[in-house]
């Protein structure tokens, strides 16, 4: 009975398509925002900011980007990290080469550059589908990494292709402290998550899902397939590009092309499988899971299970657990943690009754 819709009559269509329909949802969301913006900065320490919260937020955003393409538009991709890399290196270059460019604008331009590359590698999706499309996204993965490594210009001729973040100055304020980087990342991620939530329930989102569920029928009712697919690639890559720029600037500080390798692409795919395909919330749940599990494991091996787990085996153990979880989720709950959360909500609507 904690969470229910009775008594809330929605009497016009505008109200029916609000981002959060029920007051419980709205209240929960605002409380969460207040907590994240106003409370967390005072209670978290630097370790939490730098090692947990910032990577969690950035990976959520990356998952969101991939989820738009794979979960909503149905186009599987193994090249997410490449689009992140484009975003990071483009943002770096925009900032470096255009005097006085506002910081946030260089993030956005980085995202736009990634969107352009996304469109390029999304072009084959008109003719090829399913696994075959993996080839195009893997081509993006390897080609982008190679270009960024072998063309010195992109890293301002750094010998090992490394780029370093400039001081994070926005409107004269320095956001370089761990708490500042956290707040900056949080603001960008919240804004883009709301944008994503709006997109998926707009006409554009319906086009994506129509193409995902049955593209021949979508064409027959007049949905332009190529435009829909390319927009999915572009917008997904935009999100990934901004995530890449954040990864380089607010999380790591310095990054090389190798930091955006295939393993990173897999990691982002795992986030959406565990978190839930076709869900916005799922990306946050999946990212939290993937950031926290290794920390939990290493803490466990140092304390409760000390002596039982050889520290050298931690990485292998992690791989086995992640792999196992992927298989487990695909078998038991293909819509991931987000669906588990939804089931819980449905339950709480009628709690304490069972039906």
């Amino acid at each position: 009975m904690l969470y229910r819709e009775s008594g809330q009559f929605i009497s016009d269509y505008r109200a029916d398509r609000r981002l959060f329909r029920l007051w419980q949802e709205r209240a929960g969301f605002y409380l969460l925002l207040v907590f994240a913006f106003a409370v967390v900065p005072f209670i978290a320490n630097d370790y939490w900011f730098s090692a947990i919260l910032v990577p969690f937020l950035v990976l959520s955003l990356a998952g969101l980007g991939l989820n738009l393409l794979t979960g909503y538009a149905g186009q599987l991709s193994l090249g997410s990290a490449a689009f992140m890399a484009v975003g990071a290196f483009a943002a770096y270059n925009f900032h470096l080469r255009i005097e006085g460019l506002p910081f946030l604008l260089s993030f956005i331009l980085g995202g736009v550059a990634a969107a352009g590359v996304g469109i390029l590698f999304g072009l084959p999706s008109l003719r090829i589908k399913g696994f075959y499309l993996l080839v195009s996204t893997l081509a993006a993965q390897f080609f982008v990494q190679w270009v960024l490594t072998s063309v010195g210009w992109f890293s301002n001729n750094n010998a090992s292709g490394v780029i370093t973040a400039p001081p994070l100055l926005i409107w004269g304020r320095d956001f370089s402290s761990p708490a500042g980087r956290y707040l900056l990342t949080l603001a960008v991620v919240v804004a883009l998550a709301l944008l994503a939530r709006n997109i998926v329930r707009s006409e554009l989102g319906r086009h994506w899902m129509a193409v995902r569920d049955m593209d021949t029928a979508a064409a027959v009712i007049g949905i332009p397939i190529l435009k829909t697919k390319l927009l999915a690639f572009a917008i997904s890559s935009f999100f990934l590009g901004v995530a890449g720029a954040l990864w380089a600037f607010t999380y790591l500080g310095t990054v090389e092309p190798h930091g955006f390798d295939l393993t990173r692409s897999f990691q982002i795919l795992f986030i959406i499988i565990i978190g839930g395909m076709g869900s916005i919330l799922g990306n946050f749940l999946g990212a939290a899971f993937i950031v926290l599990l290794p920390i939990l494991l290493s803490n466990l091996s140092g304390t409760v299970l000390a002596g039982l787990i050889d520290p050298g085996q931690l990485e292998n153990l992690q791989k086995i657990i992640f792999g196992g979880l992927i298989v487990f989720f695909l078998i038991k709950e293909p819509f991931g943690l987000a669906r588990l959360w939804q089931n819980f909500r449905e339950r709480s609507r009628i709690w304490p009754l069972r039906y």
């Binding site: 080839v135 029928a217 295939l262 897999f266 792999g323 992927i326 298989v327």
Partner: protein, 293 residues
């Protein structure tokens, strides 16, 4: 010109190795429609198990037997705990499951046998052989021979044995095969075990060449373009695709690489495969399904 042919032949022989990995893919794809990303980690697992047992002083053939038995057990576990529970799911789901599977197998292999590089000596000399003025690796020729024998063995298995015939029936139409009383689960077990065997052979040859190490599981990334070019359903296609990829990437690296900067071997096969896809979406040997509405 002689140098050109030398590079070409070297590339072709390297391509044989890609073909070997790709054949494992084709087998599984034909019988269960699964695009098995874990084929690479199966290669790693087999090679690592083999070399670790050999280093413990177990005779060659016994080691081979034990490793093969391990691969059968692995196939059984995959069928029992994964495939059986994913019947009737979309191919993309199955693919992602094999991605998870590959993480599990890699983690398991390294947890049991460690992550260090092992040398593997199969007793074949790698002294270059001079043939018509060109230098060729003796080992590569041996590998090509093994691949040939393997293909003959597999065609016999598929075309002449009862199992092979039911296997082709399953590949053609799972429901119809079930209806005539073919046990799907047994077929899957056999196919995954045979793919494990092919993985073992590929792992031994690759391992003898490059050392048995983690990078073995990455050959899966080369096999994908091979399959695109050859088609997912043809063993012959896998061979031809492997040869094309092997030869063209070596030629590209040697002749184009210096012009645009080295290290293009990583992405070149993919760009080539992409070009193929746009021109001939079903590969050279694959059949194109007619879409019905």
């Amino acid at each position: 010109m002689e140098f050109f042919f030398e590079v070409l032949l070297g590339g072709l022989l390297a391509g044989v190795m890609y073909s070997l990995v790709a054949i494992g893919f084709v087998l599984i794809y034909k019988a269960s429609g699964v695009f098995n990303f874990a084929q690479g980690s199966m290669v790693l697992f087999a090679a690592l198990t083999f070399v670790s047992l050999l280093e413990r002083g177990i005779p060659f053939w016994l080691t081979f037997g034990i490793t093969m038995l391990t691969m059968v057990v692995l196939a059984w576990a995959i069928e029992r705990f994964m495939l059986r529970k994913l019947v009737n799911r979309p191919p993309i789901t199955l693919f992602m499951a094999t991605l998870g599977l590959s993480y599990m197998i890699e983690g398991l292999a390294q947890a049991v046998w460690g992550a260090q590089v092992h040398g593997l000596e199969l007793g074949i000399s790698d002294e270059p052989l001079e043939l018509g003025g060109m230098l060729l690796s003796q080992f590569d020729i041996f590998a090509a021979g093994v691949a040939g024998v393997l293909v003959i063995f597999l065609s016999w298995l598929f075309n002449k044995t009862r199992t092979g015939i039911s296997l082709r029936a399953v590949a053609d139409d799972q429901l119809a095969a079930l209806a005539v009383g073919i046990k799907l689960q047994r077929i899957w077990l056999i196919v995954w075990a045979v793919a494990g065997f092919v993985g073992l052979v590929a792992g031994l040859l690759w391992g003898a060449r490059l050392g048995v190490q983690f990078s073995l599981s990455l050959v899966v990334l080369k096999a994908l373009p091979v399959l695109i070019i050859g088609g997912f359903t043809s063993i012959g296609g896998a061979i031809v695709g492997g040869l094309i990829i092997g030869a063209s990437e070596k030629l590209a690296e040697v002749f184009i690489g210096p012009i645009i900067g080295g290290g293009i071997e990583n992405w070149f096969p993919y760009v080539l495969a992409l070009v193929f896809l746009l021109v001939r979406p079903a590969g050279i040997f694959g059949e194109r399904a007619i879409e019905r509405v």
